[in-house]
Assembly symmetry: C2
Homo-oligomer: 128 residues x 2
């Protein structure tokens, strides 16, 4: 398999690309994270989302601790070749480390952010 | 109106935040762009998406030339306070400067990116 498709991507100076994970079955945007070249290559190879953790500076196999693996259904690149969009099957129905379905649970109401989506599972139970 | 909600956001070193625009009616992810503090404040004030163009280093009132304005329906912030998700009504049904409905028209098929979504309107006609 050629690596040309990886060369097509405009990586940041840090060698990363922002990746949006959208739930294939609901269309809900679950999260945005980052991948480096290795993470994206491995994601395709293994059929699951593997990100680059900027805080930990290492590969982050989404779901490795929580079991909340994201199975890849579709991979898209945008017009400028600098954003990736994944369609995923979110195992366990929880993408967010707070135990919520997705990460975008704070809604702007007037001049404040209000948490509008419920915690489905206590993070203490998810990360033991 | 207090500016505390803007202070809640973790801006990058360049003072930006990545913003995902999702079409409210279809759930389709249209594009990802960036906003600075002024762009986000103006977006909320005017009820339309106003981005910060990193290439032109100026405010980018989405649709100012094309008429393809994005009307804001909902604004979300993620768990880490560093990504914004908009629900928008995409006027003209075209979000991408290539004349396509959305920017994510290249699909990974095997080891190559294939353009799978049609051009709805010639960019030459959009940007005169």
């Amino acid at each position: 398999m050629s690596d040309n498709w990886l060369d097509a991507i405009k990586w940041t100076e840090d060698g990363l690309v922002p990746v949006i994970a959208q739930e294939a079955s609901t269309g809900q945007v679950l999260m945005l994270a980052w991948m480096n070249r290795e993470a994206l290559a491995l994601s395709v190879q293994e059929g699951r989302a593997i990100y680059w953790s900027r805080s930990r500076q290492k590969l982050w196999r989404k779901g490795e601790e929580s079991g909340h693996v994201q199975i890849l259904k579709d991979i898209r690149l945008d017009c400028d070749n600098d954003v990736v969009l994944l369609q995923v099957e979110q195992q366990g129905g929880i993408a967010c480390h707070t135990g919520r379905h997705h990460c975008f649970y704070k809604q702007l109401q007037g001049d404040r952010w209000v948490e509008v989506d419920p915690v489905l599972r206590d993070p203490k139970e998810i990360y033991k």
